[in-house]
């Protein structure tokens, strides 16, 4: 597609429920990132996929968070047993990848509210 597409744009859930957030990157982009942005805060790195390499999961805050990238394209971020502190905007970004060529294009984000 022309840009990075994320869905849903807004998700309200109850504490303890599981949620899935989807990211469809730009066609041909081999690198895909997930970041979390809490209200008024910076961009917190969560996970990074590059081609067929094992993902860099070093930013995932707990084992309730996981992500997959199927066929080198679409990615799903799953949060299990959601907590109120998980409320944030989850941003996905993709790039052509490669050292020095990692110019990111961001999606519009998925706003998660945990009640």
């Amino acid at each position: 597609g022309a840009g990075v597409s994320q869905s849903p744009s807004n998700k309200v859930t109850e504490k303890g429920k599981d949620v899935e957030l989807r990211c469809d990157p730009i066609s041909g982009h081999t690198a895909l990132y997930w970041y979390r942005q809490s209200l008024g805060q910076g961009l917190e790195f969560l996970i990074y996929f590059q081609g067929n390499s094992a993902p860099d999961k070093s930013g995932l805050p707990s084992d309730r968070f996981s992500a997959e990238r199927t066929g080198g394209s679409v990615s799903t971020l799953t949060i299990q047993r959601t907590q109120q502190e998980d409320s944030a905007v989850y941003l996905c970004a993709s790039s052509l990848g490669g050292t020095g060529a990692n110019v990111l294009t961001f999606g519009a984000g998925s706003r998660l509210t945990v009640l």
């Binding site: 910076g42 790195f45 990692n102 990111l104």
Partner: protein
Amino acid sequence: QQPVQSPQAVILREGEDAVINCSSSKALYSVHWYRQKHGEAPVFLMILLKGGEQKGHDKISASFNEKKQQSSLYLTASQLSYSGTYFCGTEIYNTDKLIFGTGTRLQVFP
């Protein structure tokens, strides 16, 4: 690993200049700068590769001091459209993942 930005916030009148700094404790391959307007996704401004280069984009320019692992973003003759939060993103040597700084909120008033 997260780079540190300063200042945290800047308030300007139209036409004034500002400098935003980004510092890392790790050896860097590149530094990126992005701008995020309220309620929108971050948008790429420029990338600086190792070699101490300086780049310009309209009246926004940046420098990268590889030895000090520091970058600065220069905004000259600021316009209302410059308002937003500026993030530096750092690419550490031997990784190609991008880690963002804490952000600098810039507000330009008429």
